[in-house]
C-alpha cells in the first residue's frame, strides 16, 4: 500500500480518516478530494492502491468514484466510508465494484484492523449485506429464467457461496464459518470476493437487460 485517495467533504473527518489510514499503513502517500469531480480527476490522473470514498458528496454520489476506479484501476481497492451501516447505500456501492466498506462511527482501532484485513485480501461482509445479496440473486435467477434465459453471462451463485452467504446472514463471523466448513479463512475470503465479482457482473447484466427492454440497445 503506497498511495491512497481519500474522498470526503468534511475537513475534520478527512483529517481523521487520513490519521486512520496512516495508522494502518505508516508510509502512505495520501491524496484528498472534497468533491466528486475533483475525485474523478484524481482517478484519471494518478495511480492509487487504496481509496476511502464517502458516498454523500456535495456534487454527487461517491458511487461514481467507486465505479470509475473499478473501471480504470482494477488493481486498486475502493472502500466505501459511510456514517451508518445502512445497506440501501452500501449495496449499490458493492454493485458498482466497491471492495468493502467502513463505518465511520466505529472506534479507530476497529477501523485500522478492518483496513489491514482488507489489504490482506479479506473483504468485509455484514449480515444485512449478505441478506441483500441473497435476495438479489434469488430475484435475478427468477428474472433470468423468464427473460435472460439465452444470455451467455447468466450469473448464479454456487452452492458453497450461497452457504457462506446464509451463514453470514445468520450472524456467523468469517473465522467461525471457515471452522464450520473446515476451510481456511483465505478460502472463505476468496468465496466472498467471487460473490462481490458476481454481484458486479450481474448488476451490469441487469443494466444491459433493462436497456434492451427500453429499446436502447439491440440485444
Amino acid at each position: 500500500m503506497n498511495s491512497v485517495l481519500i474522498v470526503e467533504d468534511l475537513p475534520e473527518i478527512r483529517t481523521w480518516l487520513t490519521g486512520v489510514a496512516r495508522l494502518a499503513f505508516p508510509s502512505l502517500h495520501v491524496t484528498t478530494a472534497g468533491r466528486r469531480d475533483e475525485a474523478l480527476d484524481c482517478v484519471a490522473r494518478e495511480h492509487f492502491d487504496l481509496a476511502l470514498v464517502d458516498l454523500g458528496l456535495p456534487d454527487g454520489s461517491g458511487i461514481d468514484v467507486v465505479g470509475a476506479l473499478h473501471r480504470l484501476q482494477p488493481q486498486a481497492l475502493p472502500v466505501v466510508v459511510t456514517i451508518f451501516d445502512d445497506d440501501q447505500h452500501l449495496f449499490p456501492a458493492l454493485q458498482a465494484g466497491a471492495f468493502g466498506y467502513l463505518l465511520k462511527e466505529q472506534p479507530q482501532d476497529a477501523l485500522v484492523a478492518q483496513l489491514l484485513r482488507m489489504a490482506q485480501g479479506e473483504p468485509p461482509l455484514s449480515p444485512p449485506i449478505a441478506r441483500r445479496v441473497l435476495a438479489h440473486f434469488a430475484n435475478t435467477t427468477q428474472r433470468q429464467q423468464s427473460l435472460l434465459r439465452r444470455t451467455e453471462n447468466e450469473v448464479k451463485l454456487t452452492e458453497r457461496e450461497t452457504d457462506v452467504l446464509q451463514r453470514v446472514a445468520k450472524g456467523y463471523t468469517l473465522p467461525e464459518i471457515a471452522g464450520q466448513f473446515g476451510l481456511s479463512r483465505h478460502t472463505i475470503a476468496d468465496h466472498i470476493k467471487q460473490i462481490y465479482r458476481k454481484l458486479n457482473v450481474s448488476s451490469r447484466a441487469e443494466a444491459t437487460l433493462e436497456a434492451a427492454r427500453r429499446g436502447l440497445v439491440q440485444p
Binding site: L10, E12, I13, T15, W16, G56, I83, F84, D86, K104, E105, Q108, A110, A113, S126, P127, P128, R131, V168, A169, K170, G171, Y172, T173, P175, E176
Partner: protein
Amino acid sequence: MLTCLRRIVAVLLCLAVWPAWSAVIELQQAQASLHAGAQGPAVPVTLPHDWQDSFPGHSGVVSYRLQLPVPTDRGLLGVYIPRVCSNVEVFLNGELIGSGGRMHEPVTRNCYHPQLFSLPHALLRTKGNELRLEVAGFATREVAARQRAAGLSAVLVGPMQELQPQYMRQLFWNVTVAQIIAATIGMLGAAILGLAAVRRKDTYLLYFGLFTVGWALIGTRLFVRVVPLDNWLTEVLICSSFAPVLACAYLFLLRLVEERHAWLDRLLWFQALLVPVALLLVGHNHMLRAASVVYNVLAVEFVLCVTVFCITAWKHYRREFWLMSGVLALAVLLAAIEIALQNDWLPLPRVHVIHFAMPLVFTVIGIRLIQMFVHALGVAETVNEQLERRVAQKSSEIEHGYAELAALREREAARQERYRIAADLHDDLGARLLAIAQTAPSDAVASMAREALDEMRLSVRGMTGEAARAIDVLADWRAETVSRLAAAGFEADWDAQEPSRRLILPSRTHVQLTRVLREAVSNVIRHSGGRRCHVRVAFEPPGLCLTIEDDGQGLPAGPRPATGHGLPNIERRVRKLEGTQVFSTSALGGARLQVCVPLETTPSSANMPSHELRPDR
C-alpha cells in the same frame, strides 16, 4: 229381373260405344312432308315421331297430315299435343286454328311446353276432316341436348273438358314445377350469397351460393320460350353455362374440406372460357357431339371431385361425411342418368328426374350450411358474452388498479420526501455529530455526540419506516458482538433463542437495545479483565431479555458503578423502553447484567396468536 239385367247391360254398352268421340282419341298415324303446306311428297310415319328417324339432319319445318274421324260430340272439342319441338302451327281443313309462337328464327322454344288448342265446330266437316301440323324444329346434331331435338308426340283429340286436365298436368310438371324450383333455389342461392357477403373467410358459402343461383338460371331454359337469339347461339349459351356453374360446385365441395389449390381454380375458370369458344368453333352441325363431350368431361370431373371430397371428409370431417356423401351419391346417380340420356343409352322420359331431385340436393346442403352458420353464430355469441364479461371485469380491475396506483404514487411521493429528509439528516447533521464524536477531546463530549447521533438515527428510522425483523437483528448483534470479542481476545459464547420469523422489533427497541448491548460488551472488553463472555438472548413473554456476563473481576464495590462504565447510559436507555436491568455477580465469577424490555404488540404482529411471540425452538 232378367229384363232389368238386360237394361243395365244395354246402358253399359251404350256408355262403351258412345265415346268414339266422347272419349279422347289418340292419333298415331300421319303423313309427313318436308314442304310447308304438305304440297310435296309425303311419307307415312307413326307418332310419336323423331325427325332423326325419317329426316336425319333436317332443320326447318315438317308438315304432318292426320286424318280426323268424324266427331259425334257436340260439346267443346280440342286438340292436345303433349310434346312438340320446337314449335307448331295447327290447321283444320286448311284453316289455322292455333299457333305456339314464331315459326322462323328465333323460333319459339316450346320443347318442354305442351300445346292445347280448341277445334272449332264450324270448320268440321261431316267426313274427311284433315288436321295439319306444321312443326318447326332442329336436327338432333344441332342441339346440345336430345330433349330439344325436333319431334312430335302422339296427338290427342277429344272433349276439351277431358283434355284440359291432361294438359294442365303436363304443364304443371314440365313448366310450373320448373318455375317454382328455379325461384326457390334462386332465393336459397341469394340467401347463401348474403351469408357469404358477411362471412368473407368462408369461401365455400360464396361458391355454393354462386352454384345455386347458376343452377336456377340454367333451370330457366325449361320455361323461357322466347329468346332473342337464334337456336344455335341459344344452345351454345345453355351448354356453356354448365361449365362455370359446375366449377362453383367443385370449388364449394373442395373448400368445404379445406382443399385449396390455386392451379385448380385457374384451370376451372379457364375451362369455363374454353367451352363456349370451342362450341362456337365446331359450328352448327356438331353441336350435340361437342355438347356430349362437354357434359361427359364435366361429369367425370364431378365424380373425381366427389371422390376427393369423400376421402378428405372421411379422414378429417367425419361429422360432415355421412350427410354430404349421401346427398352427393344421389347427385352422382342423377348425373349418371343425365349422361346416359345425353348419349342415347336410355330412352327419353316424359319427365326429367334431375329437375326434381337436384332441388333436394340443394335444400339439404343449404340447410346444413345454414345450420353450420347458426352454430358458428351461437358460438360467436357465447364467446362475445364471455368477452364482454371479461372486459367488464378487467375494466373494473383497471379502475381499481388505477385508484390503487394513485394512492401508491402518493405514498411513494411521501416516502421519497421522507428519504430525502433522512438523507439530509445523515449527510449534514449526522456527519457533524460524528465529527464531534470522533474528534472530541473528552469522552463526555464524545458520549453526548453519540447519544445525539442515536436520537437522530432513531428519528430517521422512524421516518424511513423500516422495521427490523427480530431474526435479522439477532444476526446483526451476533456478528458484531462475536467479532468484537474475538478481536479483543475474548472467548465469546453466544446463545440466542430463535424468534418467530414474523416477529418485528420496534425501531426504538432495536436502536436502544443495540446500544445497550454494544456498551455492555465495551465494558466487558475494557474493564472486566476476564477472558470469557457469555451473551444470552431470550424471548420471554411479555418481552425480550438480554444477559451479558463475564469471568472477570466483577462489579466494583460501592452503591453505584463509577462513571465511564457506561452504566448510567444503559440505565437511562432501559428506562426509556420501560424495562428493567439487574446488575449482579455471574456464576462465571465476574459481572452479570440482565436487561428485560417488554415487546409492544406492533401492528404487523397484532393478529398473531400470543404463542408466536415465544421462541419456537
